[in-house]
Point group: C2
DNA sequence: CGGGATCCGTTACGATACTG
DNA sequence: CAGTATCGTAACGGATCCCG
């Protein structure tokens, strides 16, 4: 945010918005919650201009929410800092509120599905049984995610899991419908999820957790 | 938000931002959480242009987050709908995150103090003892608020209380410092709060609740 | 005076083209 | 792949004016 359009108020809400209130900024953070991403990964946000993405990344780096790091083969990745990770609750509450509005047509398709990671993670985190343990792969419209629960900590990251106990295959549309309350857990689990791998019963537990995570909302 | 700059994504986070993501919108909602307000009350947001305020109010009304109502003496007031009230958690999480950044100089003073209502309400709501009962007045830099707890429900509204059990008098700066973690509860309660009214012990309890509400944060 | 509407200069955004 | 450069358009900020 350029100096001219900062609120510069003492109120902590305004101080937060001075960091994350610009157009696209919260969506960039959302995608980074799924793990490190390259510039071109983030450019799949439908409609963002490359110069804007550059500006937003620079601003987030200056404010200490993300860091730029050289990864293998000399490619650059952007990743959340500890501070940036603390935007998870903001994003979750936005998702909980946004679910109350019908998607307005025509809906643009997301460029990638990293978008689901934060919401899914926080929703499950809030209701998870601390005794539960899980190491699964979640494949959404062909895009793989590692879904793990360990010591009461839920993690959802972009990428394939190694030796998952179970693999859940599903689609984005039905997942959002469940989150919105437009589809029941039963209907979702029975019609839109395929299980494979050594521990299908773990898959049942995971599907149930995901469903409860969203239906548990006020 | 004009059609051209909506995200139009299926993701609920984007759907929320299409409603409340415009500049000023969340700050307008923040102030309305303190109770109904007139156009000119909201115009005290430092720097907002009157045509922008008109646009934002119109948009919020169209989306069902606020309602325009005729009050006494033919004046118009804007107030939150049930849907609009559900932005409280978004605003609280923004406040919790924003508190991690030092206020950047030069700080603009808020035009009014309605800004404190949501954050204070949600923070106290999250930790309040359901058995607690209270009907107090909170005076911040001369501006009065009704602070009540009834059946486990915390309410903080702009305006004077009638027959409060206790009146707490304090200032905005120290309150924000406590919320930011820059000042201890003890220091706040002992140096920056004056109590008056029939039940000073209720005031002690309230000051303690406010302090714990913020120090309880992760 | 409250509640806006109108006008206008400036800034940010969106699209596209281009480069190391 | 990871940006930079350019440029037309939309949004913002400030001021002024209007109307009951």
């Amino acid at each position: 945010m350029r100096e001219t359009r900062r609120y510069r108020l003492l109120c902590p809400i305004a101080r937060a918005l001075d960091r994350v209130g610009d157009r696209w900024t919260l969506l960039v953070l959302r995608d980074l919650h799924a793990g490190p991403a390259r510039f071109s990964d983030l450019q799949t946000l439908p409609g963002i201009a490359s110069n804007l993405l550059t500006n937003r990344l620079r601003q987030l780096e200056d404010d200490g929410l993300i860091r730029r790091r050289e990864a293998e083969y000399g490619t650059m990745v952007y990743e959340l800092t500890d501070l940036g990770r603390q935007t998870d609750n903001i994003l979750f509450e936005l998702a909980a509120f946004g679910a109350r509005f019908a998607p307005d047509e025509p809906v643009k398709r997301p460029g990638n599905l990293r978008t689901i990671a934060v919401t899914l993670k926080v929703a499950c985190q809030r209701i998870v049984d601390p005794a539960m343990r899980l190491h699964a792969e979640l494949v959404v419209d062909g895009e793989p995610f590692r879904f793990s629960i360990e010591a009461g900590e839920v993690a959802v990251e972009s990428g394939s899991a190694q030796d998952p106990e179970v693999t859940l295959t599903t689609s984005y549309g039905p997942m959002v419908a469940v989150a919105d309350g437009r589809m029941s857990l039963e209907s979702f689990a029975s019609k839109h999820v395929q299980l494979s791998g050594p521990s299908p019963e773990k898959g049942q537990a995971l599907a149930a957790l995901m469903g409860r995570a969203f239906s548990a909302r006020p």
